[in-house]
């Protein structure tokens, strides 16, 4: 059984820890509260901006970070603080920043995963705005950790697609 090889609750914990560490050490956003993950969701309730990556190895899954507007704006300002951005670069820069961060969180987390030395490939990130929810098929498991900062919230999602194309 492929699903026996992967510990999804452990993975959502690792992803959430990486996200907290990134906010803390890279962006100096501290005092983050984490609300227990859930695996009983049938849909992802999306916030202002969501960045998403798919992973393929022995199993296929998706990871998403969904920010509310106030937190993402703060994250963007801090992430690009040392860069000079022209006015016409703002929109692309916001998309790229969201993509960079999910790429870093997911990619770094892969260092913590021992999947019997099988290669896990990451898709390029996708950034979604103006969407409200993504529905998942009945047998998918959607894990979520709700991270609360002084600037707003970000939800870390892990969607376990036991069969391809479930999402």
């Amino acid at each position: 059984m492929v699903e026996a090889q992967f510990n999804f609750p452990d993975l959502i914990d690792k992803l959430s820890s990486r996200m907290v560490a990134f906010l803390n050490t890279e962006l100096d956003i501290a005092n983050i509260d984490s609300v227990l993950a859930s695996n009983t969701l049938q849909k992802m309730q999306l916030n202002y901006l969501t960045s998403l990556i798919s992973l393929e190895g022995s199993v296929k899954m998706f990871v998403a970070l969904s920010y509310d507007e106030s937190l993402f704006n703060e994250v963007f300002v801090r992430y690009t603080a040392e860069l000079t951005l022209e006015d016409d670069e703002q929109e692309e820069s916001m998309i790229d920043s969201a993509g960079d961060i999910v790429n870093i969180i997911v990619g770094n987390t892969l260092a913590d995963i021992n999947d019997n030395n099988k290669k896990i490939t990451m898709s390029p990130p996708i950034v979604i705005t103006a969407a409200k929810q993504i529905g998942c098929r009945r047998n998918s498991l959607v894990y979520r950790t709700h991270l609360i900062t002084q600037y707003g919230v970000v939800d870390v999602y892990l969607i376990d697609c036991l069969i391809q194309d479930r999402l």
Binding site: Y79, T80, L83, A111, K119, P124
Partner: protein, 125 residues
């Protein structure tokens, strides 16, 4: 080690800016950048940089394939993978493809400088 001329390959404009800024901080210059693996070979041929930073995950052609293509034509190319992908298997695959080093994002200036020095000292011709 003199000021080296770099090519930066990454599909994120923000990451290109960040790497460029770090390279300039540590005394190097970026002579070209591109956002796809396919462009990397074209730009390498045109600019002949001293060293390349290469992302792995890109939309059209991944960084490992781009590295193989560049090295098939320019076997002395010095390519450092700069990527978020931390899985050991991916590091091995990158080195097998001919990359001379591997740095994990988020990038720190000191680690980048150390890797550049290591690669330059080991492979300079």
């Amino acid at each position: 080690m003199n000021n080296l001329r770099f090519m930066v390959v990454d599909d994120s404009s923000i990451t290109i800016k960040k790497i460029t800024q770090l390279l300039e901080q540590i005394g190097h210059s970026v002579i070209c950048s591109c956002k796809t693996g396919a462009d990397a070979l074209t730009y390498y041929r045109q600019y002949q940089p001293d060293m390349v930073t290469m992302d792995i995950t890109m939309p059209d052609m991944d960084g490992i394939s781009a590295t193989q293509q560049i090295l098939s034509i320019f076997p002395k190319a010095l390519i450092i993978m700069v990527t978020a992908h931390g899985q050991e298997q991916m590091v091995i695959e990158s080195i097998d493809a001919g990359a001379k080093g591997y740095i994990l994002k988020p990038i720190k200036a000191d680690k980048l400088a150390d890797m550049i020095t290591q690669v330059y000292e080991k492979y300079k011709s």
